[in-house]
C-alpha cells in the first residue's frame, strides 16, 4: 500500500515538475496536495511546507521530491485533511448567504475571510 501511495504522489509531483529535475515551485505544493485528494486550508499547506523544509538547510523557492515524499506519504496514510462532507459545505454556504439567493459573491467571501 505504501508503495502504491508513493507512486501516486510521485506521479502527481511529476506533472508539476516543469524541468523534470524532481523539484517543483513551492507555490504549486498546494495544488499537488489538493489533487491527491486532500482539503487543507492555506495555513495547513504552509505547515506542510515547513515540515518538508525542516531538513533542508536553505529552503529556496523549490521543493524537492525527496523531502516531499515521506511527509506526503504520512499525510495520506493518516488521512489528514479529509474532504468536508457535503452537508457541512452546504451549511457553510447557507450561513454566508444572508439573502438566501442561492449564491455568494466573491466580494462577500473576501470580506469574511479578511475581517477576522
Amino acid at each position: 500500500i505504501v508503495a502504491e501511495i508513493e507512486k501516486k504522489i510521485t506521479e502527481a509531483f511529476e506533472v508539476f515538475d516543469r524541468e523534470s529535475n524532481k523539484t517543483v515551485d513551492v507555490r504549486e505544493i498546494g495544488c499537488i496536495v489538493r489533487s491527491l485528494g486532500c482539503f487543507p486550508n492555506e495555513a495547513e499547506v504552509q505547515e506542510l511546507v515547513e515540515q518538508v523544509n525542516m531538513e533542508v538547510e536553505e529552503p529556496g523557492g523549490f521543493i524537492h521530491l525527496e523531502q516531499f515524499l515521506p511527509v506526503m506519504t504520512k499525510v495520506l496514510l493518516e488521512k489528514r485533511f479529509l474532504p468536508i462532507p457535503e452537508d457541512v459545505i452546504l451549511h457553510a454556504f447557507e450561513a454566508l448567504d444572508e439573502n438566501k439567493c442561492g449564491y455568494i459573491t466573491k466580494e462577500d467571501l473576501v470580506k469574511h475571510l479578511t475581517e477576522e
Partner: protein, 700 residues
C-alpha cells in the same frame, strides 16, 4: 461566519487544483502522443532502409520499381524541373477571379493575396508555379545563414511554428503589421503540415520574401521536408487543392524547401534556428554546406563502411556486362529471412548497386548534356550513400557529418540536465543541456538562441537560464484552447518583447475565465479530445496489453490491481504519462480495487469499431499501422494519382510482408491482388489497400 468562509475557501482551492491537474495531464497526453508519432516516422524510414538493404530484386521489373521508389523519386534533375516550372504553358481561364501575379512582385500583389485567402479563394496553379520558380531563384543566392541587422529596421519580429494555421498568420499581421522596409520578420520554420492552410501560408510568406528580400527571412524547419509532408498532411492538402497540377507543385515545393536557409543571425549576437543545437554544431561547417543537397533530412541508415570497400573492388573487377542476366541468374527468390553475407548474395547486391550507380550516372550525364550546366560536383542523391559518386571529391568533412549538422539544427530539443544525448523521442537530433548552450554561445560570442519546434502553453518559454528562447506561433495547436501563440520582437538592445494571442476569440475568453476557476466546458472539451486519442492508442496495443496484464495475473483470475494496471500500461505504451492520475478517466468500473482487464479492453474495442464489424484483432493491426499504411501508400503512389497499379502493389506487398513476417507465395499474392480490386477498375485505391491487410491476417 469566518469558519464557513474558510471551509468554502478550502473547497474552492481544491476545485481549482483539480482543474489545474487535469489541464496539465491533458497537455502531457497530447505532447507525448505527438512525439511518439514523430518517432514512428523515423522508424518507417528505417524500415525502408532495412528493406533496401535486404531486398534483392529478382526481376528487372522489381529493380525498376525499387529504383523508382528510392532513386529517381528523390533526385531532382534540372531538366525535369524545367518541365515542372513550365507554368507559362498553363492557361488561366477568364473565369478565374483570384489574384493574378506578375513578376517582379509588388506590395499590391501581397495585399491581393491576403484578401483572396481571407475570402477562401485559391491561387491559380500557374501563379503558384511561377511564384515557386521565382522563389527558388531568389533562395538560391542566399547563404545558409541569413544575417539581419537591427540598425536597418529598428525592430525584428521573430515568429515560430505556424503549421498551416493561416488564422494565426493573419493575427500576427493584424497585431504587428505587414512586412515592410521598416518592419523585419524572421519566420523560424514549420510553416506546413497539420493545419489545413499550409499552402496559403507558403504563398504569402514567399510573396513577401520576394517583395521585401532584405526584411523577410525564412528558416527551414523539420517539416519543410517532403518525407515528413507525406505523413503530416501537406502533400494531401496540395493534391486536394490542385488536382491537375498538384504533382508539379509538390515537386517544386520539395525543391524550394531544400533551398531555404538554415539559420538567421541577428546583429551577430542572436542565433535563430528551428530545433536547437548539439555539442558538435559547427557554424563554420553550416555556412559552407551545400544545403540543397539535403532534400530530405530523414535519411536511410548509412551502409556500413566495411561493405563499401569490397563493393568498390568488386565493381572494378566485375566483368559481367549484362546486369539483367546477372541479376536474374544469381538472384534467389525473395526470401523472408534477412540475407546472410554470403558470396552470391553479396554479389547480387553489388550487382544491383552497380546497376544503380550506372543508371544514376547515365541520368546525370544526360541532364548535364541537356542543361549544359557544369556543376563543380556531380548531383548527389541524398537517399542512399551507396550511390555516392563523389567519394574522392569530398571536402574535409564527410557527407555524414554535414547531414548530422543539419539534422541537429532542425530536430533537437533543449533539456534541463547537462550534457548532450540522442533524441530518442523524436528519433532525430539530440537533447542538449545548459552546458552545451553555454559553450556554444561562448564559442561564437552570441548572447542567446531563439528556436521553435516545441509547442508551449504560453506561446513562448525561456530555459537554460534565459539563454534559450522557444517561440511557437501556432495557437490552439492540439485543440481549441490548448495554448496561445506568440511572437517576439527584438530591438537594437536585443531585449525580447513578447506578444501573445489565440486565434479563436471565444477560446481566448474561456482561457481567461478558467484562470479564475470558473468551470469551463473548454477544459472538458480539450480533455475529451486528448482521452479519445489516448484510448485509440491503448486499443491499438491490445494484444501487447493483454500479455502485460496476464503477467500480473498469475492465477488467471482475469483481474489485476489498479497499481499493476498502471505499471503494465506504461511498460507497453511508453508515453511517460501519469497513469494513476488518468485512471479515473480511462477505467470506469472497478471492484474493490481490482480491474477486469479483458472486459475493459473489450469496451475500448467497442468504441473503436467501424461499421464493417471487423474482428477486433485485425482492426488492431490496421489501427496500429494506419498512419504508416497511408504514408506507404502515398510513397508507392508515385504520381500521386490516388491509385496504385497491380504491379506496384505486388512489389509493395512483398516488401511490407517481409517486414511483418507474413508468408505468401507469388500465386497467393496474385489472387490477393485480384480480390482486392473491388470495383474491378484495374487499380487499387487507398480503401482497397487497407482492406488488403485485413484479408491477409485472415489467411490460415
Amino acid at each position: 461566519a469566518f469558519k464557513a468562509a474558510v471551509l468554502i475557501q478550502q473547497w474552492y482551492r481544491r476545485y481549482v487544483a483539480r482543474l489545474e491537474m487535469r489541464r496539465r495531464c491533458t497537455w502531457r497526453i497530447f505532447q507525448s502522443i505527438e512525439y511518439a508519432c514523430e518517432q514512428d516516422q523515423i522508424k518507417l524510414h528505417n524500415f525502408f532502409s532495412y528493406l533496401m538493404d535486404q531486398f534483392t530484386p529478382s526481376s528487372s521489373k522489381e529493380r525498376d520499381f525499387i529504383s523508382r521508389m528510392f532513386v529517381s523519386g528523390e533526385s531532382y534533375k534540372e531538366a525535369e524541373l524545367e518541365k515542372c516550372c513550365d507554368y507559362e504553358s498553363i492557361e488561366v481561364p477568364d473565369s478565374y477571379t483570384g489574384p493574378r501575379l506578375s513578376f517582379p512582385l509588388l506590395p499590391d500583389h501581397a495585399t491581393a493575396l491576403l484578401e483572396a485567402f481571407q475570402q477562401k479563394q485559391q491561387l491559380h496553379a500557374r501563379y503558384v508555379l511561377n511564384l515557386l520558380h521565382e522563389t527558388r531563384k531568389h533562395l538560391k543566392q542566399l547563404p545558409n545563414i541569413s544575417h539581419v541587422s537591427t540598425c536597418y529596421s529598428e525592430e525584428v519580429t521573430v515568429c515560430g511554428d505556424l503549421h498551416g494555421q493561416l488564422d494565426d498568420l493573419f493575427l500576427i499581421f493584424y497585431k504587428n503589421g505587414l512586412p515592410s522596409p521598416s518592419k523585419s520578420y524572421v519566420f523560424n520554420g514549420d510553416f506546413v503540415d497539420r493545419g489545413k492552410q499550409s499552402l496559403e501560408i507558403l504563398v504569402i510568406l514567399f510573396a513577401f520574401l520576394l517583395i521585401y528580400p532584405k526584411e523577410v527571412h525564412l528558416n527551414r524547419g523539420n517539416h519543410e521536408d517532403h518525407m515528413v509532408n507525406l505523413r503530416y498532411g501537406f502533400t494531401k492538402e496540395v493534391m486536394q487543392k490542385y488536382k491537375v497540377h498538384g504533382k508539379k507543385i509538390l515537386r517544386m515545393f520539395q525543391n524550394v524547401f531544400c533551398w531555404l536557409p538554415l539559420a538567421t543571425l541577428i546583429d551577430q549576437k542572436v542565433l535563430i534556428i528551428h530545433g536547437g543545437i548539439s555539442d558538435t554544431t559547427d557554424l563554420n561547417m553550416l555556412e559552407k554546406i551545400q544545403r540543397d543537397k539535403f532534400i530530405s533530412v530523414l535519411r536511410m541508415k548509412k551502409r556500413k563502411e566495411s561493405s563499401r570497400k569490397p563493393e568498390i573492388q568488386a565493381i572494378n573487377g566485375e566483368s559481367k556486362p549484362d546486369t539483367d542476366a546477372a541479376g536474374n541468374e544469381a538472384a534467389p527468390r525473395l526470401s523472408l529471412q534477412p540475407q546472410s553475407a554470403q558470396a552470391p548474395s553479396t554479389a547480387n547486391r553489388l550487382e544491383f548497386s552497380r546497376w544503380l550507380r550506372q543508371t544514376v550516372q547515365e541520368q546525370i550525364d544526360t541532364c548535364r548534356r541537356l542543361v549544359d550546366v557544369s556543376e563543380s560536383e556531380p548531383e548527389e542523391l541524398t537517399y542512399s550513400s551507396m550511390v555516392s559518386l563523389k567519394d574522392v571529391d569530398e571536402p574535409c568533412w564527410t557527407r555524414q557529418e554535414e547531414w548530422k549538422q543539419i539534422l541537429d539544427i532542425l530536430w533537437s530539443d533543449p533539456m534541463p540536465q547537462e550534457g548532450c544525448r540522442e533524441n530518442k523521442v523524436r528519433g532525430g537530433g539530440c537533447y542538449f543541456g545548459p552546458d552545451v548552450t553555454e559553450k556554444f554561445l561562448e564559442k561564437y560570442s552570441l548572447q542567446f538562441l531563439i528556436r521553435s519546434h516545441e509547442c508551449k502553453q504560453e506561446g513562448y518559454e525561456f530555459c537554460h537560464n534565459r539563454k534559450v528562447l522557444t517561440i511557437f506561433s501556432a495557437s490552439n495547436y492540439y485543440e481549441i484552447g490548448s495554448n496561445r501563440g506568440a511572437y517576439v520582437k527584438l530591438g537594437p538592445e536585443l531585449i525580447p518583447h513578447f506578444v501573445q494571442y489565440q486565434a479563436n476569440k471565444t477560446a481566448h475568453m474561456l482561457t481567461m475565465t478558467q484562470r479564475q476557476g470558473i468551470p469551463v466546458a473548454l477544459i472538458s472539451r480539450v480533455e475529451e479530445s486528448a482521452f479519445r486519442a489516448l484510448r485509440e492508442k491503448l486499443f491499438a496495443h491490445t494484444s501487447a496489453l493483454i500479455s502485460a496484464f496476464k503477467a500480473y495475473d498469475g492465477d488467471n483470475t482475469g483481474r489485476i490491481t489498479l497499481s499493476n494496471w498502471a505499471t503494465a500500461v506504461e511498460s507497453v505504451l511508453r508515453l511517460g504519462l501519469p497513469w494513476r492520475m488518468l485512471r479515473l478517466q480511462l477505467v470506469r468500473s472497478t471492484e474493490d480495487g481490482m480491474l477486469e482487464y479483458k472486459s475493459w479492453l473489450d469496451n475500448l474495442a467497442m468504441e473503436q469499431r467501424s461499421q464493417e464489424h471487423i474482428q477486433s484483432s485485425l482492426l488492431e493491426v490496421i489501427y496500429r499501422n494506419r498512419s504508416n499504411l497511408e504514408t506507404i501508400f502515398r510513397i508507392i503512389d508515385r504520381d500521386h494519382s490516388g491509385l496504385i497499379s497491380f504491379e506496384e502493389f505486388q512489389q509493395t506487398w512483398k516488401l511490407f510482408s517481409s517486414h511483418m513476417n507474413i508468408e505468401l507465395t507469388d500465386d497467393g499474392i496474385n489472387d490477393l491482388v485480384r480480390s482486392i480490386d473491388f470495383n474491378k477498375d484495374g487499380n487499387i485505391d487507398f480503401n482497397e489497400f487497407l482492406e488488403a491487410f485485413r484479408l491477409v491476417k485472415q489467411c490460415p
